[in-house]
Amino acid sequence: MSQDYNYDEQGQFFPYFVLTIVGLITLPTTYSAFRKGQDLENTAPRIKSDFKPEHADLIEGQRKKQRRRERKLKRMVVAAAGWALMAGMVYLIIVTARTVPKIWDPYDVLGASRSWDEKKIKSHYRKLSLTHHPDKRQPDPAKNETADLINDEWVEMTKAFKTLTDEEVRNNYIQYGHPDGKQSFSIGIALPKFIITEGNGKYVLMLYGALLGVILPYFVGKWWYGSQKVTKEKVLVASAGNLFREYESEMTEGDLIYALSSGEEFKQILHGKSDAGLARIEQRILAEGEASPLAGGLGVKDRAKLQELDEGVRRKALGLLWAYLGRVELDDQALNDEKYEAAPTALALTDAFTSMSLAYGNTKPLLAAYHTSQNLIQAVPPRASPLLQLPRFTPAVVRAVEGETARTHLTVQDFMRIPADQRKKRTVGPGLLTEKEYNAAVQIASQLPALKVEKAFFKVVGERFVTPSSLVQFVVKARIIPPGSTNTPAVNEKDLEDVDAKEGDLDALHGRKKNDPEDAENRIQPPLAHAPFFARDHSPRWHVFLADSKQGKIAVPPFTFSTFDKPLFDEEGNPTFNVQTLKMQFGAPPHAGRYTFVMHLICDSYIGMDTKMEVTLVVEEASKAEEMEEDEEISEPEEDTLMGQMNALKKDATAKKRPRRVEDESSGSDTEGDEETESETDTDTDTDEE
């Protein structure tokens, strides 16, 4: 009854073992190495533009550098090595002959048929004994037979015969698979024997020691500290700390850019060469600009802050950022390159800052963060004209368009609203744009995805009123109307409604419907941001949040939308003017009352397309809401209830009598008097396009 460990001496199973292990590593690695990035940036369409900025080669170089970084070369090498190893193992498996131990079968040994009865077997055995008994058989050298072999064969035959005839032996056979009773059983280990042979033992031990004591801790440690080195927003922990300490509740965009320069990432970009070119950068950005007092677009405060800094990486980084924003030529290949590299880093830091301002909950720094993101992507300094987003628009051109004494800037939308002939007259001229350049700019302008809010309201799914502490949906109905769009169709009233799923359709109520528009697969992406100076591809995102304007606090933190539920442009690239639905959920306040918020809808990539709008959330006492619901089922509400009065007012305003699903609503009327005036409007709301 001994137990045998049977090492894989012939190398039969060992390749299987290795193949499995290597396969477990190689397959996922290969998948991740060759899978095409699912990031928005890789799948979105582009805005058609043939505009090449001055240093297009540098910017393109930066983009290529980033793509190389993303290409995961290491993973590819690992995957290739893995596949090679697996191929080798498969070869080994095929080559090694398989020696499968035969199962001992008494019929086979005797050469008997399974259908024979005992009598026949006995006679057969007797016949065999005549020829195969060692006494009757002489070893035949020609067949390589020996006396021992013959003897063994005869013993086997006798055993087989007994198995089939003797009761006891037969039982043994049935029970243990062997006529002699229980046999020793063997365990196979798929390791080659050399591993445990005497002399090699210590090496194997050393290998294990190295594996468990050195390599495992090394990788775990590397992973742990590696993940500790960057924060959730993928910026260095040290940078996040610096940014947090720079936070102030009254920050402007200029202050934020100053704060961003504290990022540790800039040390890597500048390779510690902090002094090279610092004087030149400052000389250039602080020179008198075309439209602003300083070419970099800095304010007086920003300049003071820059000059207070010690000379070093941070001061240079800040200088480079201003040079980038002001599109200041530095006349030095290396400096220009650093300038373009600084912006994407700053954008990542801005993201980190956004989460910090959310933790503080103040509106102003959050807005500053979003606006800085726009500024960085478009390479336009804070407070400068949104028109600079258009190709070849310089401060001089902008001034010609806006007029000498203009106090406020025209947005791209405003610009495109100017009658065509007048617009052209202001833009085209000596020192300004040529006619061809002007046409190219207008072409770009009419492709920008400006989101226009048509209606915004609160609702609770399946309810008519918002009751305290219920889960409220804030629904924004908006259309992409590129600047300069003519013949914008009127909004279809039905598109502005947000119809609940049918009652009883529980799946739909809980958002589990099959063709749910929020299904990630069917979402439509807007084209990549037109940002010729920004050395990365960036997919625009829209942030919607509600703020309490009196306290300057964020009431409902931002929801971010990067895709839409309906196509934005048709095949020819013309806008479809589809009404898009943006939804965000939050808990209603615990007390009944009217709550007025300011909704901000901000695109992170384009300047001057923000929407600011007042919205009112009416929360009804649960008991009152029920009562009214009952009332309404019988008749129209009485004039003396609040809701009744509101209804009456609304009916007066809109002259419509269809039953309403959502009672507490306030929608925006565009004060600039666009075509769609038929939205149901509370008088105290206004849209403010900045």
């Binding site: 600039e672 105290d684 206004d686 403010d688």
Partner: protein, 207 residues
């Protein structure tokens, strides 16, 4: 930590024996921050010296010394009288004196009081400027007034809106009045001004 509480950086300071003014004794290594700080310190020291409290420390913020409040109130009244008589320049002078006096209150007097006084005086001065059609000055004064007191200052909000409107800065006026309505919802003057601004904007768009 206890040891740290006792350590400090020794600064090269010098005390003028006669004026008791503190200055930095080494002129070369003085940072800008130190200089401004020392100026502020000497200023505070002088105002402390003029105190008449028995132990030479500032009194608690309340109660307030009534003398100054009375003076400021009087200046405002005089200004108002002049304004009513149509002597707008005189009114502006009176209000300016009042503003200087209110801002000149020692630092330990309640800041809420200063805000209240300054806000009212700036609002009045803005009105006087508006009477003289000095819209730019009026706009700045009204902004000051609002900055000092945002809530319950419909007059201040309205005056800056009006000034911007008069200067043809319609977009700014719209934003300003819109903001005002967030604080003073339903204020008739502001709603009326908003309507005017909107109308003017529409007219301009049509031209």
């Amino acid at each position: 930590m206890a040891a740290e509480a006792e350590t400090f950086t020794l600064l090269p300071l010098h005390l003028d024996p006669s004026t008791k003014a503190v200055s930095s004794s080494s002129s070369t290594t003085t940072s800008a921050a130190l200089t401004t700080e020392l100026t502020a310190l000497n200023l505070l020291h002088r105002s402390l010296l003029s105190l008449d409290t028995p132990n030479g420390v500032p009194p608690p913020p309340v109660p307030v010394n009534p003398k100054r409040s009375a003076q400021i109130g009087k200046l405002r009244e005089t200004g108002n009288t002049s304004f009513r008589k149509g002597a707008h320049a005189d009114a502006i002078r009176m209000y300016s004196l009042g503003i200087d006096m209110a801002l000149g209150r020692p630092g330990w007097e309640p800041s809420g009081l200063v805000r209240e006084e300054v806000s009212g005086l700036y609002a009045n001065r803005a009105q006087a400027h508006m009477a003289l059609q000095q819209w730019a000055e009026g706009a700045v004064d009204a902004e000051c007034s609002v900055e000092m007191k945002r809530v319950g200052n419909a007059k201040g909000w309205w005056r800056r809106g009006r000034c911007l409107f008069e200067m043809g800065r319609l977009e700014e006026a719209r934003e300003w009045v819109g903001q005002a309505l967030e604080f003073e919802a339903g204020e008739q003057d502001l709603v009326g001004l908003m309507r005017e601004v909107e109308a003017a904007l529409e007219r301009r768009a049509r031209q």
